[in-house]
């Protein structure tokens, strides 16, 4: 199970980072969302993966670490708020700057010049 979990988190982070390396705010937001999903799963697993055990002390012999669950809850809320802000900012940037490139203008691309 650990292996599948690790591969999922790793693949999601890789996709997130790939998307973030594009220069446009839209892909950047999607990439950030994926990365924050990945980081939430990662945090969740940081206390070790336990199956079929409640995150409560003294109720059974076996229990899951409750702290990562509290951490991940906080991280989800914060991540969600930040993504909302990023989306609004991306829209504002598109409206103010007339381009959704993060630098405000499309960089000069010599290849596309030659074609046209």
């Amino acid at each position: 199970m650990e292996l599948v979990y690790a591969i999922c988190v790793g693949f999601m982070s890789a996709c997130g980072i790939f998307l973030m390396l594009r220069g446009h705010t839209f892909t950047l937001v999607i990439g950030l969302t994926l990365l924050s999903y990945a980081v939430n799963l990662f945090l969740f697993a940081s206390g070790g993966l336990t199956i079929g055990a409640p995150a409560v002390l003294n109720s059974s012999e076996n229990y899951a670490d409750p702290l990562p669950q509290a951490l991940v809850l906080t991280a989800i809320v914060i991540g969600f708020a930040m993504t909302a802000f990023a989306v609004i900012l991306a829209m504002r940037g598109r409206a103010d700057l007339g381009s959704d490139h993060v630098d405000g203008t499309e960089p000069f691309d010599p290849l596309s010049e030659e074609k046209s």
Binding site: M20, T25, L28, L32, L35, S36, V39, N40, F42, L43, A45, S46, G47, G48, L67, P68, L71, T74, A75, I78, G79, A81, M82, F85, A86, L89, A90, R92, G93, D96, L97, V102, D103, G104
Partner: protein, 503 residues
């Protein structure tokens, strides 16, 4: 329990409550009422911060267990000499910024005073917290307030700088969480004192994982502090935002430096066994190169605000040098320099705002323009601040730099530190004197249309400028204090001591 026992949480609580109160209808509608409430709150915060400082000085480190849950299960706030000093610094800066903004800059958009309060809450919380995850939460509080403050008033330039700033910091926050997860997975705790206890006990196969987590944290804090490979966002962000916000941001990079000190100087410090001083091999070249990069950028700056932003980068580099020297002496010098550079840079940003106001179209760019109506006063303040920022006697910049150079004892280290810091000072002389001549002397004709500075703005700058000579006159007291703070930072508390103090 008297109210005095809860003093530690007040620097977080006051700005939070005031920020919320400022959003209520009767205050929300009237800017004048907001100004009065906000300035009163800031004065109250200075009083609270300094009474906390005296309390910590008399009774030693104060630990406040939130909800009376003992560490490591609950979250604690730890007020030691270093963190309390920075809380005082942020309170003073907060008052100056609010005063300056009350002269009219808070009019350009809504909720300015509320946002400043939230920002101060985040900054104070980040300084006081004794828990790594709580540090993350306070970082987010101060960041989301800073996102909105930076774009406050709107405009093309601000939006553009804000996009870079926001997205970089969002990526930084994700990495922060990855690092925390890694550290929690290996250490099983996120309480600073507990972490410091457990780092030497790590088993061999956990060592590498913990090390990668710690170094990832260094990258995250480095991004906030604007150290070398990740400092490119700073000049644009600081120079395009409004004046008072830029001045407040002078302490934001210091939050990053403070965190590096806390985590890599103390938790992964000398007593950390296998992982002792893991950040030092990285910090050492990065610190020197940050000074170099900042210095080159200082020479290339075309306006006063950009120049000042680049001086912030130089000061961050200098502070990183003191961290990587890794002695109590250097840390003490670093703390002194931290206070000085924050105040001097903030005052310079405020002054740049006044100059921008009085030069009309030319703003604060280094071009010939009509003379400023109040050129005499502004020129005098500029000269004072330039002396402080360069590090010439008699102001505190000189004392700070002298202390740093004095703390370098090893000849091989001195060979690197001396030229970088001294050449940085020389370049600052050239850049600032060039800036001064073109701003104040290369003028053509009288300027009648420009607005004169508001008295509140002068009070704000005067408040900050007055601290610089005071830091020299009371230099002995201040350095005694920073010495104690540095010793406390190096030794730290174990979890057991922490819980004893909390009782």
């Amino acid at each position: 329990m008297s109210l005095f026992d809860h003093l530690v949480i007040f620097p977080v609580l006051i700005p939070f409550i005031v920020a919320v109160v400022l959003l209520f209808p009767s205050l929300n509608n009237s800017l004048n009422k907001q100004r009065v409430v906000s300035i009163t709150a800031n004065i109250l915060m200075i009083v609270v911060a300094f009474s906390l400082l005296f309390k910590v000085q008399e009774q030693g480190i104060q630990v406040y267990a939130l909800g009376d849950w003992s560490a490591p299960f609950g979250i604690v706030l730890v007020a030691d000499l270093f963190s309390v000093l920075l809380v005082c610094l942020s309170a003073i800066l907060g008052l100056a910024v609010t005063l300056y903004a009350s002269a009219g800059e808070d009019k350009i958009g809504a909720f300015f005073h509320s946002l400043i309060m939230f920002q101060l809450m985040g900054i104070n919380g980040a300084f006081l917290t004794g828990d790594a995850f709580n540090l993350f939460v306070f970082f987010e509080v101060l960041l989301i307030a800073s996102y909105s403050l930076m774009i406050h008033g709107g405009g093309k330039q601000k939006t553009q700088a804000n996009i870079h700033y926001v997205f970089l910091n969002l990526i930084g926050s994700s990495l922060f969480l990855f690092a925390l997860g890694t550290l929690y997975g290996t250490l099983g705790t996120l309480n600073f004192a507990d972490m410091a206890d457990k780092v030497p006990l790590l088993s061999d196969n956990e060592l590498l994982i913990a090390k990668s987590g710690a170094l990832l944290l260094l990258a995250v804090f480095g991004l906030k502090a604007a150290m070398l490979p990740v400092h490119f966002w700073l000049p644009k962000a600081y120079s395009s935002t409004s004046t008072s916000v830029a001045a407040l941001f002078a302490i934001m990079t210091k939050v990053g430096v403070y965190s590096i000190w806390r985590v890599h100087g103390a938790i992964f410090g000398d007593q950390a066994g296998e992982l002792a001083n893991i950040a030092l091999p990285w910090l050492w070249p990065i610190a020197l190169l940050t000074i170099a990069a900042g210095t080159i950028a200082v020479l290339a700056s075309k306006s006063l605000k950009v120049l000042c932003s680049n001086l912030v980068i130089v000061s961050v580099g200098t502070l990183l040098v003191t961290i990587s020297l890794n002695t109590v002496q250097a840390a003490s010098a670093g703390i002194y320099y931290l206070i000085h550079s924050t105040i001097a840079c903030a005052a310079m940003f405020l002054l740049a705002g006044l100059i921008q106001q009085q030069r009309g179209q030319a703003e604060d760019r280094f071009v010939a323009a009509r003379a400023m109506p109040q050129a005499g006063v502004l020129g005098f303040i500029f000269a004072l601040l330039a002396i402080a920022l360069i590090g010439m006697p008699p102001l505190s910049g000189f004392v700070g730099k002298a202390l740093i150079l004095q703390s370098v004892t090893d000849a091989s280290q001195a060979m690197w530190v001396y030229p970088f810091i001294l050449l940085g000072g020389l370049v600052a002389i050239i850049a600032l004197s060039r800036a001064g001549t073109s701003l104040f002397w290369r003028s053509n004709g009288e300027n009648t249309s420009a607005i004169k500075g508001h008295p509140m703005q002068y009070i704000a700058i005067g408040l900050l400028v007055a601290i610089l000579p005071l830091m020299v006159i009371f230099g002995g007291t201040v350095t005694d204090y920073t010495q104690l703070a540095a010793e406390q930072l190096k030794t730290g508390l174990s979890l057991q001591q922490l819980n004893e103090v909390a009782k």
